[in-house]
Subunit: 152 residues, 4 copies
């Protein structure tokens, strides 16, 4: 276990001290620094090895498994209409279920990338560099219309 997850950006004190008054709404949610993507890959590879399941974990099987998990995430959102950031009306049980399903998507994504020999963390950096070229901030800033046109 850990003292606290979801540190604010650049926060060096993650020990559970109370946030300063007036700053709570400005603090940005962050992820825990660990495990890394490679840690997750290694843990899942060990899990698969220990069960002798690599024969089932071929690329298309993993892809379909990921599609199944994306479907389970969708089922959590399907009858809710628009959902605001932070899921203000969700129960603890729904949040935990969502955490599980997003994790399942992540686990299969990581294993699919591994079996396809895609270095996922580095691939993301390359794709983000392309996205910055494709959608220059100066051109697309703040306009839904421009945004949609660019995305289309």
């Amino acid at each position: 276990m850990m003292a606290r997850n979801g540190q604010k950006l650049g926060d060096s004190t993650v020990d559970g001290t109370a946030p300063r008054a007036g700053t709570a709404s400005e603090e940005r949610f962050t992820f825990s620094p660990q495990p890394s993507v490679e840690d997750i890959r290694r843990l899942q590879a060990e899990f698969t090895d220990e069960r002798d399941w690599n024969k089932f974990h071929q690329p298309r099987n993993l892809l379909l498994a990921m599609v199944g998990e994306v479907g389970e995430v969708s089922e959590l959102f399907q009858w809710k209409g628009e959902v605001a950031e932070g899921l203000p009306d969700w129960s603890d049980s729904e949040r935990e279920q969502l955490a599980h399903e997003l994790s399942d998507v992540f686990i299969y994504l990581v294993e699919l990338a591994e079996k396809c020999r895609v270095d996922l963390p580095q691939a993301v950096l390359r794709k983000m560099a392309l996205n910055r070229l494709k959608y220059p901030a100066s051109k697309v800033h703040g306009s839904a219309k421009k945004y949609t046109e660019y995305k289309d």
Copy 2:
């Protein structure tokens, strides 16, 4: 910066040294240690902030965007029949395209988790612990039948 980047199985060009005889096939593909999941979250948050796009990046929008990217991954696999680990018959162009699409899934997954206040790296550890309880290695080892029954 990093010790090893996405070394393909048997790749002799990544670190400049020839693979030792007899070890190439035993070396397991690994991911680069960086960026972390939190690095990716922060970089994508900066990208979204700079473009004033947070208003578009509500949870269900991000979920549908992720579904769209999973669809693009599927399109790369859809007419190929069974695909072996390592994608032996894929062209460099197809591999690069796959790296892009898997990255897009990852980016939207990370941003969806952030907007839902799910600490994705820690959530994965919790889910993996549940998976180890649910599928004990001693019970499910090596049997397709047992595997399927357990998964069902």
Copy 3:
């Protein structure tokens, strides 16, 4: 061909006569009576046969193709926030694009069912009968809470 599509429910005059004043808002959108699901299956089978593509149209290939098309539908909805019935703010071009993508999902669904020997129209009737048993109107009427609990 037919004179008009989208007849109101039970309309026996589909020749384009003007709707009676005051009834427009009560008229329910309907589909054209043709083609049937079997017509669509047969037309798509002919299309596939003529191109000698059956070797590519194995069940999992068709499933991944359907996932790809669902992704394309999702891309049309992904940045829009909540969308009202009838898509009041969509352009003609967006509507036409949506018609194409929904059709692609349908075509692959039909061909997937065929290749799996599932009599899709009859299977739907059986599933609808199950749904009526599972969600009795008297118990679930009009309550979001009941609805969600039942669906969960």
Copy 4:
């Protein structure tokens, strides 16, 4: 019109007669002629009306529900490796489950099209006409390479 339709479940005309020698493998599976797509739309609209569920069946909710059902279809195929036409190794229970899940995809697709005012049967005819123009049989016949290039 057709030699056999929907030769399964409830069909009283195909259950006792032995197939003629040499013809069984040439006979093509077909769907039952009914219900029509419009019948399915109407039945589902009645189901939704009776439960006062239209308020939940907005376009994006239905889309996410469809994604969820596509996920359930995927789960049936995910650990099987390549699956041959006709699903020769599937149990009756698996076939029935597949029939249910494909039906769920179909039901939500139909209701999504209705709520978006897309005349689905006619839209399919238009899309098929476009597909015939896009992939002329004379150019793409029988070649995986040509097929892939065209599809790409």
